[in-house]
Amino acid sequence: MKILIDSEPFDPWKVLDEYQKDKADLAGQYGATTVFVGTMRDFNEGDDVSEMFLEHYPGMTERHLENICLQATGEYQLLDSLVVHRVGTIKPNEPIVLVAVWTAHRKQAFEACREIMEDLKSKAPFWKKEQLNDAQDRWVEKNTRGY
C-alpha cells in the first residue's frame, strides 16, 4: 500500500510500471488490476479552464487516504493498493489522481477501485480552484456524484 501526495506532474503509466516492478512477491497471485486516472479537462460547467490550483490539508489528507485504502483492503481482500494525488498548480491534460488496486478476482478489483475513488472524492480534504480564461478564478463548489 502506498499513498503519495505529489506537487509535481506525474505519468500514471510510468508510476504503475515502477510500482509493480517492485512487487515481485505478488507475482502470480493477482489476477485483476483496476486503475482509475482522473485528468484535468480544459472545460468545466460550460467554461474554459486554463489552469487549476489544488489545495489540501497536509497530514489529514494522507491520514484519510490511508484509512480509505485500509478499509477497502479489508472489505475487498486487496493484495495491494496505490493512490497518487496531485496538489498545487495543474494544467489541462495533466493527471490529478491515480488509484490502482490488485486482487485475485476482477469483481473485487472493480468495486474496490470505484469505492476508493468515491471515498476520496467525499472525504479526502482537497479543494480545487479553477482559473477561467475570461473571468476570475473560482473555487469548485462540489464534486459530481460518481454512482
Binding site: 482522473g38 489544488l54 489545495e55 489540501h56 490539508y57 497530514g59 489529514m60 491520514r63 484519510h64 494525488h85 490529478i96 489522481v97 475513488m117 476520496l120 472524492k121 467525499s122 472525504k123 479526502a124 480534504p125 482537497f126 479543494w127 480545487k128 480552484k129 473555487w139 469548485v140 463548489e141 462540489k142 464534486n143
Partner: protein
C-alpha cells in the same frame, strides 16, 4: 499550549488566516466546543450549513468538545480527485 484553528479554501477567503487561541483566552471566554471556537475566530460571521469540521484531523460535528493542544479545522465540501 492553546488551540490551533485552521481555515481552508473558500473558508479562508471568508474568515481569514489561521487563528491561535491560547489557554488563557480559552478559559476567559469559556470556549468549550467547536461552535464556541467558530464564534470566537469568525467574529460574528454565520457558520455556513455545509462547512466541514475536523478536530485533530478527524471529522466531527459542532458540538464536539475541544481542549488545549487540539487542532481544529473548518473547510468547505471537499473537491479532490
Amino acid at each position: 499550549m492553546g488551540v490551533d484553528v485552521k481555515f481552508f479554501a473558500s473558508m479562508r477567503d471568508i474568515i481569514g488566516d489561521d487563528c491561535e487561541i491560547d489557554a488563557e483566552i480559552l478559559k476567559a471566554k469559556s470556549i468549550k466546543n467547536v461552535d464556541d471556537i467558530w464564534n470566537y475566530c469568525a467574529a460574528g460571521k454565520e457558520r455556513p450549513a455545509n462547512v466541514l469540521i475536523a478536530v485533530n484531523m478527524d471529522y466531527v460535528d459542532a458540538e464536539t468538545l475541544v481542549k488545549e493542544g487540539d487542532e481544529v479545522a473548518f473547510f468547505p465540501p471537499v473537491t479532490g480527485g
